[in-house]
């Protein structure tokens, strides 16, 4: 403290200030941790997923992956490399075991073994790269079209379900499901919100209704799935179909939409309503001209956000709308127009679920999982961003 004059206001150590600092840093660290985790997840999906979606040649986007149907992957691996790889693998294993058996005293030997393993691993990587270059991959259709199949003497032949082709139908199915449920949930939700916030009489009944709507959003998604299955699929007899999925998703999103719409309608100044009523507008006219337009940005944003989150759910569509595999695109092979909504579709969340838990895992399915997840993330992000853009647009038009 030399050279510093201590006066009434100079800084001193105090317990209070210390705790203040401590709490601040705890808060800061937890926030950074959350960001770190989220960033890691997104980075992981992004890096691994982009392997499936992007490629190094001209269009840079693997359009096949985005458009083709999922197919069984036929893999031919060069036999000579495969053999060598297996040998190296065996050697690494045995060295490892040897290493473990060595006593602590034999430091020299252990070091030697470590070096051996390292060199073997390096060799393995080189060969593995070579294998990846020389191997032949065929999707189902390609495989059938082949005139001369690779000889079994040169190649090791294996097939992997779901790992070939692309996720085209799943993308389309997801988009259809989201759009349909947006339409249903938005119209139902907004109508309900208008009634609740503008027409209904405040009182106990309204409070109970509000509370139960809010509680609805806490119901687990699998319950919604079961409900949709029982109600739409079985009771209404719609079968596993897009429309059953729409309604299930819509009902799941309703609580969010209703409360968000109500909130944004209530945030419209009372003066707008009174102003137009005093000019001789009927109640509906006042709402139509002076409440809804200004509440729209809020309604749209929160609703689409809500839907986008719900669209990510696997459980509600698992029983109601999603097929694990469907060859045809939704508009193919329809007998009559109404069939369109009564057909099941593939959906990305369900597809991810299937490829990651229903079939044996290997390097080929991993590609498919991450690719699907990446695309799915992208779609959900797209809906979210479009809702924000929409909000900004509408907001600009109706600003107060």
């Amino acid at each position: 403290m030399e050279g510093k004059v201590i006066h009434r206001f100079s800084k001193r150590f105090s317990k209070k200030a210390f705790f203040e600092n401590l709490i601040l840093n705890i808060l800061r660290i937890s926030t950074y941790l959350v960001i770190l985790f989220a960033g890691f997840i997104f980075l992981d999906i992004g890096i691994n997923g982009s392997k499936a979606i992007f490629k190094s040649q001209a269009p840079f986007i693997n359009t096949d992956f985005l458009t083709q149907k999922p197919e069984t992957l036929h893999v031919f691996e060069p036999k000579h490399i495969d053999k060598k790889l297996k040998e190296i693998n065996a050697k690494i294993l045995s060295t490892n075991i040897e290493n473990k058996n060595l006593s602590n005293l034999a430091i020299e030997d252990s070091k030697k073994n470590d070096l051996l393993i390292k060199s073997l691993q390096a060799k393995y990587h080189v060969l593995d790269k070579q294998r990846k270059e020389e191997r032949l991959l065929f999707s189902d259709t390609e495989f059938r079209a082949l005139e001369i199949k690779p000889s079994k003497s040169e190649y090791v032949y294996e097939t992997y379900a779901y790992s070939g082709g692309g996720i085209g139908p799943a993308i389309i199915g997801t988009c259809l499901l989201v759009l349909g449920s947006i339409a249903i949930a938005l119209s139902l939700g907004v109508l309900c919100a208008i009634y609740l916030s503008e027409y209904s009489r405040p009182g106990k009944v309204l409070q109970i209704i509000r509370l139960s709507i809010l509680n609805l959003s806490g119901v687990p998604s699998i319950v919604f799935g079961l409900f949709g299955f029982g109600m739409f699929v079985l009771f209404f007899g719609w079968g596993v179909s897009m429309i059953a999925g729409w309604f299930t998703l819509a009902i799941m999103a309703l609580p969010v939409i209703i409360s968000a719409s109500e909130e944004s309608m209530r945030s419209i100044p009372k003066g707008f309503r009174e102003g137009s009523l005093a000019l001789g507008a009927s109640k509906w006219t006042a709402i139509r001209t002076n409440v809804l337009p200004y509440a729209l940005p809020g309604i749209l944003t929160s609703s689409i956000m809500g839907i986008a989150r719900v669209a990510g759910e696997t459980a509600p569509i698992m029983f109601t709308a999603a097929f694990a595999l469907r060859d045809q695109l939704p508009w193919e092979g329809l007998e009559k127009a109404s069939d369109f909504i009564f057909q099941g579709v593939m959906a990305l969340p369900y597809h991810i679920y299937v490829v990651s838990s229903k079939i044996p895992q290997n390097e080929y399915t991993e590609n498919m999982q991450y690719g699907s997840a990446f695309v799915f993330l992208f779609i959900v992000g797209f809906f979210a961003i479009s809702s924000i853009v929409l909000r900004i647009r509408v907001r600009k038009k109706y600003k107060w």
Binding site: R201, P202, P269, G271, F272, R273, E274, G275, S276, L277, A278, L279, G280, A281, S282, T285, T289, N290, Y294, Y398, K399, W400
Partner: protein
């Protein structure tokens, strides 16, 4: 020096009363269990400015809102007894079309509430919801309303700009112009100047004075001086009762009731 200036004693101008436009008889009004207005009877005269003064919560705004049935918006608000007649029609009759009533009795609110639309659309709103779409008709009404609200000169070059770009006083005059567009006979003003600065207030007061020629105006105000300046008649409310009602001069210069006296002289409470 001219000696031929006509001088009339101040009392001489009084007074053949103009016809009554609003007749209120024994009005009792309540919000649910709590009664807000007690046994109010008064007449509002044609083409005069009638001011309601009184401390906050004395029921003057509630009373004003009875005239165009704005209180209908509040579920628990109810007229318990008594009648309000406008042009000899009981406006709380079941046969009354509230929309027509509100067209006849325009209202301007405490907080200027222009819609977030263009100036033009704000004024045309009242006509558009009536189904008038002809642009020539809309144009001429917008112009005449803005002119009678003394706003035309200030905004004629930016009719298509947002009304929210106007200053507070201009917004309030815009709201008055908007109310005029549906051609009312009576204008209710609920503290029209409470959020305005003195200059804007003065402009609105000038406007009220100007509009008096063609409209019957009822204005609620917290500002006693404003009531004194703009009104022909003043009613003093206290705790939901009409304490005194009479020509403004009488209320401010020589009130009969001691409560009125205390209130106007600032000795209240």
């Amino acid at each position: 020096m001219s000696l031929d200036i006509q001088v009339k004693p101040a009392e001489a101008g009084s007074k053949v009363l103009p016809p009554e436009v609003i007749k209120i008889r024994n009005l009792d009004f309540s919000y649910g269990e709590s009664q807000a207005l007690f046994d109010i009877s008064m007449d509002v005269y044609e083409k005069e400015v009638t001011a309601f003064i009184g401390p906050s919560g004395c029921g003057k705004s509630t009373f004003l809102r009875c005239f165009n049935r704005m209180n209908d918006l509040i579920d628990i608000a109810k007229i318990k007894s008594g009648t309000i007649k406008i042009s000899d029609v009981d406006i709380y009759d079941e046969e009354i079309d509230v929309i027509e009533l509100r067209k006849h009795v325009g209202m301007v609110f405490q907080k200027s509430n222009p819609f977030p639309k263009s100036i033009y659309d704000n004024i045309a709103y009242g006509m558009r919801i009536q189904g008038i779409k002809k642009s020539s008709e809309l144009d001429s009404t917008v112009e005449s309303c803005l002119k009678s609200a003394a706003l035309w000169g200030e905004v004629k070059d930016r009719l298509n700009e947002s009304a929210l770009g106007l200053s507070g006083g201009q917004q309030q005059r815009l709201c008055i112009a908007r109310a005029l567009a549906v051609k009312p006979k009576i204008l209710l003003m609920d503290e029209p100047c409470s959020a305005l600065d003195p200059i804007a207030t003065a402009k609105v007061e000038e406007l009220i004075h100007e509009l008096k020629k063609n409209y019957t105006i009822v204005v609620v105000t917290h500002n006693m001086q404003q009531a004194a300046r703009v009104s022909d008649r003043t009613a003093f409310f206290y705790l939901g009762r009409l304490i005194e009602y009479g020509p403004t001069e009488q209320i401010f210069m020589n009130p009969e009731n001691s409560q009125t006296e205390a209130y106007v002289s600032g000795r209240f409470g």
